[in-house]
């Protein structure tokens, strides 16, 4: 288990390599990488967060995934600060014996991260217009399917 909140970019290949290293019980590794989209004329995207709570929230989400599924390993990385279209924002990865578990747990991590981790996106367009991104109802719906 590992959670990181950082301004710097990260290397998905190195993260995937580290996740599975030395554990030959792992048969399946799933990763999700979120990128800044350039649609709507977005020039920069800034990620604000709640220092202190962010790490706790991500650790709680990760711990819940390990309670629900037989995971061999997992990782969550979320960047903060300014980014441009094409840049990586977020990365989650899960490792398990079989693929069904790895896929489900990775979706769960993203759905919960999207609705429970204190991050806020602000987009600035080429003309200087700034706009806080609205929460998507579809994200609430995606998170609700894991309720129990």
């Amino acid at each position: 288990m590992a959670v990181r909140v950082q301004e710097a970019d990260f290397d998905p290949g190195a993260e995937l390599e580290a996740l599975a290293a030395g554990n030959t019980e792992i048969g399946a590794v799933v990763s999700f990488t979120g990128l800044v989209r350039g649609s709507g004329g977005v020039e920069t995207m800034t990620l604000e967060h709640y220092p202190g709570m962010t790490e706790k929230a991500l650790e709680a989400i990760e711990a819940e995934a390990h309670e629900r599924w037989a995971l061999q390993a997992s990782a969550i990385i979320h960047r903060i600060g300014p980014m441009i279209p094409g840049e990586r924002i977020v990365f989650v990865a899960t490792a398990s014996r079989h693929r069904g578990v790895a896929f489900e747990a990775a979706e769960f991590l993203m759905d919960y991260l999207k609705t429970r981790a204190p991050f806020w996106k602000k987009e600035v367009a080429a003309d200087g217009t700034a706009k806080w991104v609205d929460a998507r109802e579809s994200d609430d719906g995606a998170a609700a399917r894991w309720a129990r």
Partner: protein
């Protein structure tokens, strides 16, 4: 009690955090927000639609009717949009 504001709530109120001393009778998050709204027009404007506001108490997700007893840090913010 320290109150933190994030995203557009922080921008509208004009500060990211402040120490406040609410009067007796402010027992829940809802009470606190109602009291903040009485302080200055910018608070009233920022909290106009409380359905759009989420809260964390001592860095744990919470609800508007949760009590403030023993709480040191209240964070108020719009729905999260990371990921």
């Amino acid at each position: 009690m320290r109150v933190l504001y994030f995203a557009w709530l922080r921008e509208r109120i004009g500060v990211g955090s402040e120490e406040v001393s609410p009067p007796d009778g402010v027992a829940t998050v809802a009470d606190l927000v109602a009291w903040l709204k009485t302080r200055e027009p910018r608070y009233a404007a920022a909290f106009e639609d409380t359905a759009a506001i989420r809260v964390a108490l001592d860095q744990e997700q919470a609800e508007f009717d949760d009590p403030l007893t023993g709480v040191r840090e209240v964070a108020l913010f719009p729905p999260v949009t990371g990921g």
